[in-house]
């Protein structure tokens, strides 16, 4: 019995040490961003960008302050599914879609395109949640 408990604890410890989600599409995008000049993603910086404000605009206007929760479009009131990969892994299954939303939302929020580094950081952070 004791042996089983030890095995369970060791297994749980190993699992918790793994990156939260292994998604081939995310890996593909992160590689692409590196090819475009980004260094290794820094999730902490992605988090900073997420909570930063450009005037009155920021990611949290629509996505809410907790990426694991459902957001609400600030203008149309439509529900926006969670961004945290652990809650809504479907978000990160199609790289074309990820790029589409980076394009639209960076332009709206920051008034410019996001750099490859910013995209890598943010994607890596959301994928780790």
């Amino acid at each position: 019995m004791k042996k089983i408990s030890v095995i369970l604890i060791v297994t749980a410890a190993c699992l918790s040490g793994l990156p939260a989600q292994a998604s081939p599409e995310v890996d593909k995008l992160l590689q692409k961003y590196q090819q475009q000049g980004a260094a290794v993603a820094v999730p902490e910086q992605g988090k900073n960008l997420w909570y930063s404000k450009n005037g009155d605009r920021g990611c949290i206007n629509c996505h809410g302050s907790t990426p694991a929760d459902t957001g609400r479009h600030v203008r149309t009131n439509k529900a926006i599914k969670p961004m945290a990969a652990s809650v809504n892994p479907e978000r990160y299954q199609d790289s074309k879609k990820v790029e589409k939303w980076f394009l639209r939302n960076c332009k709206w929020t920051l008034g410019r395109l996001c750099t490859a580094q910013e995209k890598a950081n943010t994607l890596d952070w959301l994928n780790s949640l």
Binding site: K78, K100, R104, W108
Partner: protein, 195 residues
Amino acid sequence: MENKKALVFGSVLLSGILTFSLYGIGSSIASDDSKHEHDREYEYRDKGTNYSTKSVGTNKLYMEECGSCHMAYPAQLLPTQSWQKVMLGLEDHFGENAELDAESHNSIESYLVQSAARRKGESRKLLRNLGNKTPLRITELPYFIYEHDEIPCRFITGNDKVSSLSQCSACHQNAEKGRFDEDDVVIPGIGRWDD
């Protein structure tokens, strides 16, 4: 023996009656349906059978691309020239960025143009008194204004659960299906609307 005959006869008679009554119920449901369809002042529905498979696919794309931020408004609610103008300005779509890649853009535009309000058919009312104007919003159509002008502001802009006339589905229970009959209207916190 006599009893058995009577039993067989009875069974045949009973099944006959049942068949006829079921047929009767069925046809009365059908006729109620068609009467109800006829009663509807107007109704916007995709005439799926008239569209090619390609258009149906495009329709799905429209639902996905446009419906992710707001209700995918039925294409029949705006005239062709309005949809073309909307599609020209997606980078600043009522203050939002709604850019599309070229392929999706063309595909969605052709679906919208093909399904837009027409001078003939159910959607003709929407073009009433429009003249040569090209409204960008369904809520700017004279016919739309006429249909909604008796509703007090407190039911719409003053109502947290509605907030704007753009939120069709807040009150029109079947708006997503393209149906806007008065029978389907339930104003949140107020109830049914009957003018």
